[in-house]
């Protein structure tokens, strides 16, 4: 891939701005060294294995369980964030109320808070003697050290992706359309469903996909609260770490490759969604 870029190392049209040669060379070198070669090494290492071996690793019950936990719970968390993200984004964009700016700032906390810090804080909150765990225990609900804990952590880290993707689109939505619909006699609910929703749908789907992708690969905020029981509450990234510590490199790289392929596929979908969104709303 790098050589394909290198052969094209001439600007399409001559630019009056100098420095193309050196900055282009440095860019390709830097991207190759840090991103391309390391990721290629992962695929090459996996390609050394026979297809049977790859299949055996991926279909081992423990691997399947870990992948199911990571993908399944991440999907559930992203769906939850879609619903609550919609409520939050609507409140932030459409209503004026005391404390709105504080709430708006809070949305970014999961982006900024290091995952290990979020991990221990969530575990402490939901443990049997924690602030929230104490209230849930009498109801027979255990969150910490169960798959439910993994779900909670994934909801935490995924929320900003939905809110911050939809927020600018809803802010820019033309008021005329809703007013026109209302003037023509549409009820408020019909207007939201038939006028607002189609306009913000691509942004919602993009946010959903971003939150989903983040949850699948998430490690730090999840492993403290997860319990990490094989076949029950073990996420795929943790299984990679465990295989690596056991020096089972083939297992580690194969699971990693499977996850990478899935995230690249997701990235492709996200890009397509963003193009769709751009075409519909005409904004970047």
């Amino acid at each position: 891939m790098a050589s394909a870029i290198l052969t094209a190392a001439a600007p399409r049209q001559r630019s009056a701005v100098p420095g193309f040669g050196i900055t282009f060379g440095l860019t390709v070198l830097w991207v190759s060294l840090i991103v391309l070669i390391p990721l290629a090494a992962l695929f090459l290492k996996t390609a050394e294995l026979t297809p049977d071996r790859i299949l055996a690793i991926l279909t081992a019950p423990r691997t399947l369980h870990a992948l199911k936990i990571s993908f399944g719970l991440s999907l559930a968390a992203a769906a939850t964030n879609l619903v609550f993200g919609a409520v939050i984004v609507w409140a932030l964009v459409r209503y004026e109320f005391p404390g709105r700016r504080v709430l708006d700032a809070l949305v970014d906390i999961p982006f900024a808070l290091p995952t290990a810090v979020a991990g221990i804080a969530l575990t402490d909150l939901y443990a049997a003697n924690g602030w929230i765990g104490r209230l849930l225990a009498p109801l027979g609900i255990t969150v910490a050290f169960t798959p439910l804990g993994i779900f909670i952590a994934m909801v935490f880290i995924g929320l900003p992706f939905v809110v911050r993707t939809v927020q600018p689109v809803l802010e820019d939505l033309d008021a005329d359309l809703e007013e026109a619909a209302a003037t023509l006699g549409a009820g408020r609910w019909t207007t939201i469903r038939r006028v607002v929703l189609p306009a913000v749908l691509p942004a919602f789907l993009t946010g959903f996909a971003l939150a989903f992708a983040r949850g699948v690969g998430e490690y730090g905020s999840v492993i403290f609260i997860a319990g990490n029981l094989p076949n029950v509450s073990e996420i795929a990234p943790l299984l990679i770490v465990i295989r690596l510590e056991e020096f089972r490199y083939a297992d580690a790289t194969t699971i990693a490759c499977a996850m990478l392929v899935a995230s690249f596929a997701l990235l492709f979908v996200i890009n397509a969604l963003q193009r769709w969104s751009q075409n519909r709303t005409g904004r970047l």
Partner: protein, 296 residues
């Protein structure tokens, strides 16, 4: 805007009963408004605010003396030092190269450009654990270049260079992706004018381009720094967890927590939480200057 009013709405018989238009027809009934605001506040309070508050409450649960003791502990200080060094390397490298990459990707047109932009963004979609794994595969004792490097006295994995590399990888896109949209929008006219008037390339960059992007650059640097100091998964894989030597702050937090030294663990965590809060405050202030909203 290519949207039209849906047929169902347009076909509604107007005038059969002309409802009086409410004052703001783009809003919902009062009760609905308060339910939405209440739910949003509850969700953000419970899921986002509470964990943050919990960090500080636990950190000070045994008073100021215990808090201070956890921070001046020799292993904690070593972890803070390593975190600062790694962040300096990662932020430095990603800032310089972020500027170089943004310059290439916005001031020139060439084949393969969109592929290159995709590659710059790629680390965002890679699990942190995989980011660590790839460097173990390359530089670990059983890795591609590992044995040769070890023979020559170079230790990368389970040492600070590996931690720095993994951190550079996970923070790779931060600076570049803040700069690229802005520099794209600004185009090349000002640079072309400067060059035409006889300025050198470097002088053009320093006097024309850099002042134009300084706030976006600062914004990217802040985000890159916060993530560099807080990175856990990637660093955890390459670090080897040698106390006092290859532990960064997040790894030190993990060790303390697993040893049931909860208060000490939260004390170190409170420093990173404080960094997160300061970063967000600075981000809010900068957004007003840049005049646009950001995703991540």
């Amino acid at each position: 805007m290519s949207m039209s009013v849906p047929a169902e709405v347009a076909a509604m018989p107007a005038g059969i009963e002309t409802p009086a238009l409410p004052e703001d027809i783009r809003s919902e009934p009062r009760a609905v408004r308060w339910v939405v605001i209440g739910l949003a506040t509850l969700f953000l309070g419970l899921f986002i605010m509470l964990p943050l508050v919990n960090v500080f409450t636990q950190a000070f649960s045994k008073g100021w003396a215990a808090y201070g003791a956890a921070l001046v502990d020799a292993d904690a200080l070593a972890a803070i030092e390593l975190t600062l060094i790694v962040a300096a390397i990662s932020v430095g490298a990603n800032t310089v190269m972020g500027l170089v990459m943004a310059w290439t990707l916005t001031k020139f047109e060439f084949r393969g450009k969109s592929l290159l932009i995709t590659l710059v963004d790629l680390p965002f979609s890679v699990s942190p654990v995989i980011a660590g794994l790839v460097f173990v595969l390359l530089f670990g004792a059983q890795g591609t270049f590992g044995p040769w490097l070890i023979d020559h006295g170079w230790k990368i994995v389970f040492a600070w260079p590996g931690i720095a590399l993994a951190t550079i990888f996970v923070t790779f896109p931060f600076v570049a992706r803040e700069l690229i949209p802005l520099m794209q929008e600004q185009g090349t006219q000002e640079e072309e004018a400067a060059v035409t008037l006889g300025a050198s390339g470097l002088r053009t960059f320093l006097r024309v381009t850099l002042p134009n992007v300084k706030w976006a650059l600062l914004y990217g640097v802040l985000l890159c720094n916060a993530r560099s100091m807080g990175e856990f998964g990637a660093v955890s894989v390459v670090s080897g967890h040698v106390r006092g030597e290859t532990n960064t702050m997040p790894l030190h937090i993990e060790i303390l927590y697993n040893e049931y030294q909860f208060q000490a663990s939260f004390a170190v965590a409170s420093l990173l939480a404080l960094l997160a809060v300061v970063t967000l405050l600075a981000k809010t202030a900068l957004e007003a200057r840049i005049g646009r909203r950001h995703g991540h």
